[in-house]
């Protein structure tokens, strides 16, 4: 089954508003959580990531909230702008010392910011 789920495939927000993207995961061993941004026909670029020892991380207009007991994390984008329009992928995994990290991705959610 899919280990990471983005239940809302699309979201439209007015320019200047707050965009909230959600992600649920199944494996409670996951200790790394990330959001990637993807334009059509391009590869994902990392936006922000957190480890499981924090429940919130801010970077400019971006904030990640982590709810470990609920196996849920979200991305909030404040003051949303038309250039934020893209597909957002959430990813979660277990960072293992000395081995490759295994990441599971959600299907993606299309954010449209309308002027």
């Amino acid at each position: 089954g899919q280990q990471v789920k983005q239940s809302s495939p699309s979201l439209t927000v007015q320019e200047g508003g707050i965009s909230i993207l959600n992600c649920d995961y199944e494996n409670d061993m996951f200790d790394y959580f990330a959001w990637y941004k993807k334009y059509p026909d391009n590869s994902p670029t990392l936006l922000i990531s957190v480890r499981s020892n924090v429940d919130k991380r801010e970077d400019g207009r971006l904030t990640v909230f982590l709810n470990k007991s609920g196996k849920h994390f979200s991305l909030h984008i404040t003051a949303s702008q038309p250039e934020d329009t893209a597909v957002y992928l959430c990813a979660a995994g277990q960072m293992q010392q000395g081995t490759g990290s295994k990441l599971s991705f959600g299907k993606g959610a299309k954010l449209t910011v309308s002027p």
Binding site: Q2, D41, S43, T45, S101
Partner: protein, 113 residues
């Protein structure tokens, strides 16, 4: 700064033909390297990872194989393509140790007819 290249950019291949996709990372020694695949409309799936030259671990079985002949090179291949192999192939790297963010290359788009 690290740069990651993938080749070819795009490929159209016949069912049953062989395939070789390449990935090179510059500016980083001993990276962890990863292969991902995304079918059209599908989810990005991790296929393989490698933490050192000559070592590759399979994550998902798709009748594909991977090799790491050099520290900075990762190759994805098969001797016989299937229609289901069509999609977007991405190479990614992370710092040695595995406990770090993965950064993606530009990708190769493959269409199997």
């Amino acid at each position: 700064a690290q740069t990651i290249h993938q080749w070819p950019v795009a490929e159209i291949k016949a069912v049953g033909s062989p395939l070789s996709l390449g990935c090179t990372i510059k500016g980083k020694s001993s990276p962890n390297l990863y292969w991902y695949w995304q079918a059209t409309g599908g989810t990005l799936q991790q296929l393989f990872y490698s933490i050192t030259v000559g070592q590759v671990e399979s994550v998902v079985q798709l009748n594909l194989s991977a090799s790491r002949p050099k520290d900075d090179q990762f190759i994805l291949s098969t001797e016989k393509l299937l229609l289901s192999h069509s999609g977007f192939y991405l190479c990614a790297w992370s710092r040695q140790g595995g406990q770090d963010t993965q950064y993606f290359g530009p990708g190769t788009r493959l269409l199997v007819l």
